[in-house]
Symmetry: C2
Subunit: 88 residues, 2 copies
């Protein structure tokens, strides 16, 4: 709860990056080895995967929930954001 509240304070309401950062890192480098790094990943790939999670075509409970709470514009912005970050 505390961590979630901190993320909510740190990020403007319109940006869902804080929610992604919890697992994928603010810098797009995941600390959990079962979670993919997103930094420097292909923007189109990231966008397509988010849309696949959203539609349930790529099954993942948490990612489906996250993606369904975003607009297509927010998904596109996130894909562009993480693709632009430098990889490790």
């Amino acid at each position: 709860m505390a961590a979630t509240a901190d993320l909510a304070l740190a990020e403007p309401r319109s940006s869902p990056v804080g929610q992604c950062a919890y697992c994928h890192g603010e810098d797009g480098i995941a600390r959990d080895t079962e979670v993919p790094h997103l930094a420097g990943q292909n923007e189109k790939y990231l966008f397509n995967q988010m849309m696949a999670f959203r539609a349930g075509k790529r099954p993942h409970k948490e990612m489906r929930f996250m993606a369904r709470n975003m607009t297509v514009q927010e998904v596109a912005a996130l894909a562009a954001y993480y693709a632009a970050l430098p990889p490790r």
Copy 2:
């Protein structure tokens, strides 16, 4: 056909990296923007995704075919190989 034949010649029979490289790059950097880069990705994530493709839990026709033609040992070796490559 020519490209496939070249890959087959370039890689020893026991290594399936040549097949991956066709889409993901020999260096793990995909040229097609709809394909994910694999270089430097988390090894466990790569392994888990390959097993998910294999079982059909993550739907992808081509990846399912590729993964089904590999042993678990080959999948593990590929995950380790791509995870160890430097990202862009």
